[in-house]
């Protein structure tokens, strides 16, 4: 995968609104055939990033290249190869699904192609109905259908699971993987829920207050979040002893937790002995992906009290 050419390259990207930085020092690449997920809570900068990619906004600093072009200066050319489906899906309420698919794409879809895409998103039965009668999930599907005529090189989906029922979310994941398999298109997904994307994304970029706090695959995220769980004779004393030696030490009522990657068992043992604390038991704890994600965000909140505004 890493050998494939990069369709999207973001370097040191920053975007400021007044004194507030919505994005800062962001680096990211999306290669051909790759599915990358942007994950982060509301306000983390996902939408700003997608708008910059779509050429709706200019970066304050850094560069963005989509297919080698600057989307702000060359939006039309970029849109020939990339498709965006923004959230919430805004469509024309008076037009039918069919009319959207006929009139909005730059190249009119053939009736066959239209039918195929409508079937793909599960809207064949409602093709001639005005969009004002559609549920959020149906609008979401139509928005996706619009982005697939014709099938682009890069598909950018903003919160694609919003409004979909759990079955439809699973179906969407399967469809996206199928689509990638058939066409080798690249997909950039944005979501505020890791669960929505973890099973489909090759790589995840976690955004927090405009910064990329993690970029890698899900295994790397899990690994980074592993800890030693130390059952000790005196939890409070152990915490005091370890937190002065290791970062991100935490405790609960029974044990103290030390980051797995950033600590060595002999050093831990040494520190505890020096403090007169007995180590009764220890083992490695592997959190769920969701827990790892939340932990990462919490750590960022604790360790970086102010990333913005920029001073």
């Amino acid at each position: 995968m890493s050998e494939a050419p990069a369709l999207l390259t973001i370097e040191a990207l920053g975007r400021r609104y007044g004194a507030r930085w919505a994005l800062r020092e962001l680096d990211l690449e999306v290669r051909r055939g790759e599915i990358v997920a942007l994950v982060g809570p509301n306000g983390s900068g996902k939408t700003t990033l997608l708008r910059i990619l779509a050429g709706f906004q200019r970066p304050t600093e850094g560069t963005v290249r989509l297919f080698g072009k600057d989307p702000w200066l060359d939006r039309v050319s970029v849109m020939e190869q990339a498709r965006f489906a923004f959230a919430p899906p805004a469509l024309y309420p008076g037009l039918t699904a069919n009319e959207h698919l006929t009139l909005l794409p730059s190249t009119p879809a053939s009736p066959r192609e239209r039918d195929r895409v409508l079937e793909w998103v599960g809207l064949s039965e409602r093709a001639h109905e005005a969009v004002r009668n559609f549920s959020l999930g149906m609008r979401q599907r139509l928005s996706l259908a619009l982005a697939l005529i014709p099938v682009p090189d890069l598909l950018v989906l903003d919160e694609p699971a919003d409004g979909l029922d759990p079955l439809a979310v699973i179906e969407l994941r399967e469809r996206l993987l199928e689509l990638r398999q058939e066409t080798s298109l690249s997909i950039l997904l944005s979501s505020h829920l890791l669960a929505d994307v973890e099973q489909v994304a090759d790589r995840i970029c976690i955004l927090h207050e405009g910064h990329a706090v993690f970029t890698g695959n899900t295994e790397e995220l899990e690994t980074e979040s592993q800890e030693w769980r130390l059952v000790v004779s005196d939890v409070a004393a152990a915490w005091d002893a370890l937190s002065s030696h290791f970062p991100l030490v935490r405790q609960d009522s029974d044990a103290v937790y030390v980051p797995w990657e950033r600590s060595e068992p002999p050093l831990v043992r040494e520190a505890l002995e020096a403090a007169g604390v007995r180590l009764l038991e220890f083992h490695r704890v592997k959190p769920t992906l969701e827990a790892a994600f939340l932990k990462l965000l919490r750590q960022r909140l604790d360790s970086t009290p102010t990333l913005s505004p920029d001073r």
Binding site: F56, Q57, R75, F86, L95, L103, S106
Partner: protein, 278 residues
């Protein structure tokens, strides 16, 4: 494709029907007012000692001129301002502008398609309205010679008379001329629309500006400002109802209106092409 999309959106929207209903109501009220006025003036209740009006003056063509005159200086520009105001700001407030701009279509094409469809629909509206007032005039009053006097409606500067056939030809000429006049309020509101995030604000501001400018351009104290206001020449088409059409004046004033329209369109497009969408 952009043109078809804009045309279909307009067809499916409620705006044309609201405008049509408003115009029909207006024509009904005008017909009532015209009938009572004619009755007062010709029914033996004439207050003026020196009067020029008589029964032959009040016919369906005069009614059509009266009805069109007030509509073209007040109602139609307001509708034009509304139509222009909802274009960009309406898409922005409905969230559909990203949908339009997520296609490989230039902002220029999006903007000019909107202008073209709004302009064409206004021209159609002006034409339909002329047909409506002439039809109502024919059915309820009956046509005849079109007699016009100075002062009345400020259409002519000397007493004159046009035969029925000639008057109908003049109505035909007035269609494109009045449609062209509507471009100025339309493009002004399109320009305002590029600045606004709310369709209501864009329409409200456009209509307010139109009304303020049209009042200012009629008031004597603002003589020095008049050449710089598009509202000063918005009724230039009235010259087409004169016995001797003042062509040079009509070309001059039409050019001025077109200059305003092109300037509004240019600035609007300039703004739209450089604008960020948040």
């Amino acid at each position: 494709m952009s043109l078809s999309l804009e045309a279909l959106k307009l067809r499916r929207s409620r705006r044309p029907w609201v405008v049509l209903a408003a115009l029909v109501l207006y024509v009904i009220l005008m017909l009532f007012g015209f009938a009572t006025y004619a009755e007062t003036e010709t029914g033996g209740n004439v207050e003026f000692r020196y009067t020029f009006e008589n029964e032959s003056y009040f016919n369906g063509l005069t009614f059509a001129v009266y009805a069109f005159y007030f509509a073209a200086l007040l109602l139609l520009p307001v509708f034009a301002s509304t139509e222009g105001g909802v274009q960009i700001a309406g898409e922005r407030s409905a969230g559909t502008l990203p949908l339009l701009l997520s296609r490989p279509v230039s902002r220029q094409r999006v903007f000019l398609s909107k202008f073209a469809v709004a302009g064409a629909s206004l021209a159609m509206g002006v034409g339909l309205f002329l047909v409506l007032v002439l039809g109502v005039g024919l059915v309820f009053v009956g046509w005849g010679e079109l007699r016009l006097y100075p002062g009345v409606l400020q259409m002519t500067d000397r007493p004159q008379s046009l035969s029925q056939a000639e008057a109908l030809v003049r109505f035909l000429w007035v269609w494109p001329a009045a449609s062209l006049a509507m471009l100025a309020p339309l493009t002004l509101s399109l320009l305002i629309s590029t600045w606004s995030r709310s369709a209501v604000n864009a329409v409200g501001l456009s209509v307010s500006i139109y009304l303020v400018l049209s009042v200012i351009s009629e008031i004597h104290f603002f003589r020095e400002l008049r050449p710089f206001l598009f509202t000063s020449t918005l009724g230039y088409w009235r010259g087409l109802f004169r016995e001797d059409i003042p062509w040079s004046q009509i070309f001059r004033e039409a050019s001025r209106l077109l200059a305003f329209s092109a300037a509004f369109l240019g600035v609007g497009l300039w703004r739209f092409r450089r604008q960020e969408e948040r």
